[in-house]
């Protein structure tokens, strides 16, 4: 079990200051953390799966909890960004296929197929809206 320093940062989230051991933790608290920061055992911080939602940690008194609506929104945002990348890659593959077509007939066919694919590809999949319909 190790001790760390925690405080609520300017974004409203939790900052965790991990001492290297070069100085006593009380000196680190005074030197590296703002007023109001506290020393806690790291075992009291969210563990396991909850630890991955670090950007959704909230400080209530001396207790850190996970704000799950925020965590969900962050995961959906990340998933959305990944989906956009997949859609963009599909479009590039389609365009590359058109460019490398050997004959005029194939070119026309692939061009039509490519237009259809591009038109139907979603550049943005708004999963937040899907999860929270109006």
């Amino acid at each position: 079990m190790s001790q760390v320093i925690i405080y609520q940062n300017s974004n409203g989230n939790v900052s965790v200051c991990v001492p290297t051991g070069e100085l006593p933790i009380n000196e680190v608290l005074a030197k590296d953390a703002p007023a109001g920061a506290i020393i806690v055992d790291d075992s009291t911080l969210p563990q396991g799966a909850d630890a991955q939602f670090f950007d959704a940690w909230k400080l209530n008194g001396s207790t850190v909890t996970v704000d799950f609506p925020t965590a969900q929104a962050h995961k959906l945002r990340d998933f959305n960004a990944a989906a956009v990348q997949v859609a963009q890659k599909r479009q590039l593959n389609t365009l590359a296929g058109i460019e490398n077509t050997p004959s005029d007939a194939d070119f026309t066919a692939n061009l039509t197929a490519g237009r259809t694919a591009i038109a139907s590809a979603k550049t943005t999949i708004d999963l937040v809206a899907i999860a929270n319909p109006a």
Binding site: C17, P19, T20, V28, D32, A51, F54, D55, A81
Partner: protein, 129 residues
Amino acid sequence: MAGTIVADTLQDGAGNSTAMDNAIYGSAKAWVNFNGSGGTIRASYNVSSITVSATGQFLVNLTNALSDANYAVIASASSTASNAAGGVNIMTGTPWSVLTPTTTQFGIVTPISTTTATALTYTCVAVFR
């Protein structure tokens, strides 16, 4: 015992020598090797702590202040995950804004995109001045 050695040149027994400036200005004034995921610190020199501000966003706090804030920071980061990025933005804060370094603190970010950072297993930083 405290003391001072004054010399312009360092020389070993084989006659190899170097200017004292190389030892003074060419050696790292601080360094740290830590796990960006969780902030576990493996080893350090002249670093009092690492503050994890958000995923992949860190403040490096120096034990002893440097002479000024015009130091050079060299950093690298990598992960055991095959699809992870390995870049590091130096003197950067949240979100990707310039974070002016001080004599005792500077920020680094390990980005995975233009808007998102990621925590990388091996994050290493060295400071020269």
